[in-house]
């Protein structure tokens, strides 16, 4: 493959946030992937999962050797992740606009079960073009799903952008919001661990890419 057929830009855009999440924020390990009280991370922006697979390998969810023959017939790793094939992957994704609604459901389910687990979902600013996200943003706020954090990778890829900014789009519905430099690990960590009693959106800004 050549060019961006593997969505390499998408992978490059998420790598820093993914690393901070799995290294310092998420309460989940290879030993707890089936623990109902684990934190759950949902990669809605399923494009460019190379970064995701690399982090999962580094943290022991999958073996590094698995990376070698990815996309082959016998490999569990494709150009979009499949939860039935990859240890630690919470949702199968690749079609945009599914992860945030699912995340509202998983976070709500955790709350109903009395679990201390949290749900984190990563979406792209281009992905926010899909209307399903905006339905979910409203629902999460109305249901006050406070154990939900949405991370928006903002690489200015949205077709028409969001007047008032992406954070403003969440805030107008009642979400708590933060904006960070998506390459600054300390800033990402601080934002992702900030206390919140409402659903929480962290907009991670990076350089423009496609």
């Amino acid at each position: 493959m050549t060019g961006d057929e593997k969505h390499e830009w998408a992978a490059a855009s998420t790598i820093d946030v993914l690393w901070v999440l799995y290294d310092r924020v998420l309460d989940v390990t290879p030993a707890t992937v089936d623990d109902p009280d684990r934190d759950r991370f949902l990669l809605s922006k399923g494009h460019g999962p190379m970064a995701y697979y690399a982090v999962l390998a580094e943290k022991g969810f999958i073996s590094e050797s698995t990376l070698d023959d990815w996309t082959s017939w016998d490999s569990p790793l494709g150009l979009h992740p499949d939860r039935a094939l990859v240890n630690g992957v919470e949702i199968s994704s690749g079609s945009l606009g599914h992860g945030l609604p699912i995340a509202v459901g998983t976070a709500l389910g955790q709350r109903i079960a009395g679990s201390a687990g949290r749900t984190f979902v990563l979406v792209g600013d281009g992905e926010l073009d899909e209307g399903s996200n905006h339905e979910a943003i409203a629902v999460a706020a109305r249901l006050n799903v406070a154990n939900l954090t949405a991370i928006v990778i903002d690489n200015q890829n949205s077709m028409y952008g969001w007047p008032g900014g992406i954070a403003g789009r969440f805030a107008v519905e009642g979400w708590q919001t933060a904006e960070v430099d998506g390459r600054d690990h300390e800033a990402i960590f601080t934002a992702l661990t900030a206390p919140h009693d409402r659903p929480y959106a962290v907009v991670a800004k990076i350089e423009k890419s496609y």
Partner: protein
């Protein structure tokens, strides 16, 4: 060599110049191939439901919208908009997909659409073209752009070695006495190889247009054989045309076998299209085995 996708883009861009009714609506995919500075070219962003809704509105305003994306994002995601914003408004449009059932399975299930034609079968009034060669795309598309009806054109990376004349009705490429094989679009070459490898004395019909279904053509071909045995080879879900074959042959005692993308389980492997062909018995080996067992005796 021109691909089906390139033939589609070239044809639509030519007709954009010639016909002021033509409009193009996309959701990012392929958008850069159309002149974005023209008001009749609209890229709505990653918003497939809106893409179809906008197309419905353009049609209500008298335009002839061409709606295009990868198959699952053109057909499955905005299915209700297709049903209501196009069909229920009783307007026309030309839907053109790429990706087919599993043109590039490395992308996984999200980018596979073996059920697209079956979904269109739930809706009345759709013409469905499944060209088997890039040179078949342009004439099918030019006719569709002239008309006012609802048309789905299913493009694929997989194609036959040569083009055949297109138009309504099936084309008989071989004549035999043991039965009939109907090959749809890109399935033709492998069907011919399978038939040859088994020395099967069968009639081979080719279809680049599957809706409307050429019931008369199938019935006539069956009546000219010694055995009313029919094999239907489709590049999408197996048995997608079963209801139409059954209707066409309702007065003729017959046997029928369907080959296509298997329905029994979701295939979660990645790999290549050839890998998936083999898994679904849609390669020459699998089809040869089916021909041998079905037309035996």
């Amino acid at each position: 060599m021109t691909t089906m996708r390139e033939a589609f883009i070239n044809t639509v861009n030519e007709e954009l110049e010639n016909d002021p009714r033509i409009a193009v609506v996309t959701a990012v995919i392929s958008a850069s191939n159309f002149p974005q500075d023209r008001e009749r070219v609209v890229d709505v962003g990653i918003r497939e439901q809106t893409m179809v809704g906008v197309a419905g509105g353009l049609a209500l305003a008298g335009l002839r919208p061409v709606v295009h994306s990868y198959a699952p994002f053109l057909v499955e995601r905005p299915y209700e908009q297709i049903k209501l914003d196009i069909g229920h408004q009783d307007v026309g449009a030309v839907f053109v997909s790429i990706g087919a059932s599993y043109d590039d399975p490395a992308w996984g299930r999200t980018h596979q659409s073996p059920g697209d034609v079956a979904l269109f079968d739930t809706l009345p009034g759709w013409t469905v073209h499944v060209p088997g060669h890039p040179d078949e795309v342009t004439p099918l598309l030019r006719q569709a752009l002239k008309d006012d009806n609802r048309v789905y054109v299913r493009l694929s990376l997989h194609e036959n070695a040569q083009a055949y004349p297109v138009g309504e009705g099936f084309t008989a490429l071989r004549h035999g006495k043991r039965g009939v094989v109907l090959a749809v679009g890109p399935m033709l070459d492998r069907v011919l190889k399978a038939v040859d490898s088994e020395n099967a004395d069968v009639t081979v019909l080719y279809a680049a247009t599957v809706r409307p279904f050429d019931s008369d053509g199938l019935r006539k071909a069956v009546q000219e054989t010694d055995h009313a045995d029919v094999m239907v080879v489709e590049p999408y879900l197996e048995g997608t045309s079963a209801h139409l074959v059954s209707e066409a042959l309702q007065q003729i005692p017959h046997r029928v076998r369907y080959a296509g993308v298997k329905r029994h389980a979701e295939l979660r492997n990645y790999g290549t299209a050839e890998d998936h062909d083999a898994a679904h018995d849609l390669d020459v080996v699998g089809l040869g085995s089916a021909v041998r067992s079905f037309f035996r005796g």
